[in-house]
Amino acid sequence: MNFAARVQSLHKEYFLKGETVRALRGVTFDIPEGDYVAVMGPSGSGKSTLLNVLGCLDRPTRGSLFLGTSDVSRMDDDELSRMRAAKIGFVFQSYNLIQQLTVLENIEVPLAYCRRLNAAGRQRCRELAEMVGLGDRLKHRPYQLSGGQQQRVAIARSLINDPYFILADEPTGNLDSKTTDEILSLFQELHEQGKTIILVTHEDEVAKHTKRIIRLFDGEIAVDTARDGTSDTLLI
């Protein structure tokens, strides 16, 4: 089995006002390719920290994180940037499109940072925009789009570099229930196409669409349905 990510006894400690905050205390799990996993947990559980480490925005204090075959836990800032540009697809709660760029230009951004912005890349941007249903809005700016549409652009953007996994942080947090369903069915579609999706959420409604749930509590994994069996009723 090929793994999109392998997390091994991950620790993360912060210094905050002279105190050491242990945000992650030895988290271990694997994400096989094609997995569709929800990361859940109350605030302060280390959910965001895990997300940042998985997204190569932050380095763990101890432990290792393998993306593909490389250990990113010891990479420097430039190498991490390169990893984010080439192999991670971010989807944010507030879409985070760049306002002065068009739909197409927004999808192109990661390509520019891994030097793959060529004719083929541009063609792929168009295809992805069509795939998320925005083929007729390529020249629109983010403010001309609805929230759902913006999130679709963001999803197209996250796919442009053919990432190890899509890291979606509360992707439906700002959307109404109808649009939430649309976005979740888009994720479902991507999952069926074999994409790996890590979805951070606090909503059970959202989490139940996924194949696997990892619950964090106090910086440790409380529940991992892949490890504990198929039921996630223990802590609800």
Partner: protein
């Protein structure tokens, strides 16, 4: 390269989001860059003007002019006090080894007549060398010759303008001009081509107009008119006793001009006390011009420097604001794989685009310099003509010359200012923690 262009396009797009702020910001750069072009253009104009003047007056010449001392009292009883340089002075000057020649003239203001036509002329007693010295060219006939001087002929050569005014329909050659003050006639042997007024040297040597001239042999002037200049006009009676109006000393080599000038001062020391003589060294003009030029350059340079710094600070200010405003965008770009140096480049490109816009408009502002100078001169003349006359001649006559290299130089300066003042905001942007930046509202 393509990438830089697309980044530049994005940068300009971002700047267009706030056109008012952007254009106010580039104003400082505009002034700075325009000043750089101006200062070089004016400096060059001054140099060219000075060189023109020196060529006109002769770089190896030293001009000694008689001036009427203010202290001389011409009392009726004691008769006129002689003043000015003398023939004896000239003999002394010729004895200085570095002096090749000393050309003498004597000038008088006289009305000239032909039949009923009258012109207020400048009667110049001179030698054949005078035409070469002042770059006068013969139009018709000939200039005065050595034989004319020797024989003290009553011959004269007139300027073209005089010929036109006195002889509208006739050939002046062979005709005579009447000088009523001396009840005397002079036969015209030549007409000289028109020549523009000579360069003036601040103060002592006013610009010389040649258009009303009548040249006669200096020997003739001496024997027929003499050294005493009696003028009796309505309500005015003056008597001046002057031997020579001007001696132009020709020095053998350019290197000897300075030392010869010192020699001359020494030789004619007596005149210094009487203050009836002025020594003008055209070569000094070069120094004078260099000083004026330096003054302008320093002054304009200061304006340029201050406005570039102010402009740069303005740019830094707007960029710091931009960086704060766009914290979220920076976070997003970092998350999507931008390295720190990508962020630095993005903001630097934007800053440079901003300052380069100032540069380009500044270059346009610089190129209109000659027209503006002409306009300013016209305005000063309209408002206060006296003020204009008080300005040094070189300032009055100088034409600014846009120096070719000043354009790329000015543009380069604007880009450098952009980089210099853009680095700090760009670094601030790049060093933001991407996680914090993403969370920024």
């Amino acid at each position: 390269m393509i990438r830089v262009f697309s980044e530049l396009a994005i940068g300009i797009k971002s700047l267009m989001l706030k056109p008012m702020q952007s254009s106010l910001t580039i104003l400082g750069i505009f002034i700075g860059v325009a000043s750089v072009i101006w200062l070089l253009a004016i400096g060059e104009g001054i140099s060219i003007e000075a060189q023109k003047q020196i060529a006109d007056l002769g770089a190896t010449n030293i001009i000694i002019r008689t001036v009427k001392p203010s202290t001389t009292v011409t009392s009726e009883n004691s008769g006129p006090m002689p003043y000015g340089v003398t023939r004896e002075d000239r003999e002394k000057l010729l004895r200085i080894p570095t002096v090749k020649d000393a050309i003498q003239i004597r000038e008088l203001q006289r009305p000239l007549f032909f039949s009923d036509n009258r012109i207020d002329g400048r009667l110049v007693g001179c030698t054949p060398e005078y035409s070469d010295l002042t770059h006068l060219e013969v139009e018709r006939g000939r200039f005065l010759e050595a034989a004319d001087l020797k024989a003290e002929k009553a011959y004269c050569v007139i300027a073209q303008k005089v010929a036109e005014r006195l002889f509208s329909y006739e050939d002046p050659i062979g005709r005579s001009i009447y000088l009523p003050d001396h009840e005397d006639y002079y036969t015209i042997v030549g007409v000289m081509k028109h020549r523009n007024a000579s360069a003036a040297i601040g103060g002592s040597l006013a610009s010389q107009v040649f258009e009303n001239d009548m040249y006669i042999p200096i020997t003739t002037l001496r024997s027929r008119i003499g050294d005493l200049d009696r003028i009796a006009r309505a309500g005015q009676f003056t008597r001046d006793y002057v031997q020579l109006s001007q001696i132009t000393v020709i020095v053998d080599e350019l290197d000897n001009v300075k030392s010869t000038a010192a020699h001359i001062e020494e030789t004619l020391k007596a005149h210094n006390e009487k203050e009836d003589m002025d020594v003008v060294v055209p070569l000094d003009l070069l120094e004078q011009a260099e000083n004026t030029k330096m003054m302008f350059m320093v002054f304009m340079g200061m304006i340029a420097g201050v406005s570039l710094i102010v402009g740069g600070i303005g740019i830094m200010n707007i960029m710091l604001a931009t960086v704060t405003e766009r914290t979220r965008e920076i976070g997003v770009r970092r998350a999507l794989g931008a390295r720190q140096r990508d962020i630095i480049r993005q903001f630097l490109v934007e800053t440079v685009a901003l300052s380069a816009m100032g540069g380009v408009t500044g270059i346009l502002g610089g190129l209109i310099c000659p027209y503006v100078i002409t306009g300013i001169r016209w305005a000063i003349n309209e408002i206060n003509a006296d003020l204009m006359k008080d300005l040094p001649d070189i300032v009055q006559n100088m034409e600014p010359q846009i120096v070719d290299f000043s354009i790329p130089l000015a543009f380069g300066i604007s880009v450098i200012v952009g980089i210099l003042f853009g680095v700090y905001p760009a670094m601030r942007a790049a060093q933001m923690d991407p996680i914090e930046a993403l969370r920024h509202e």
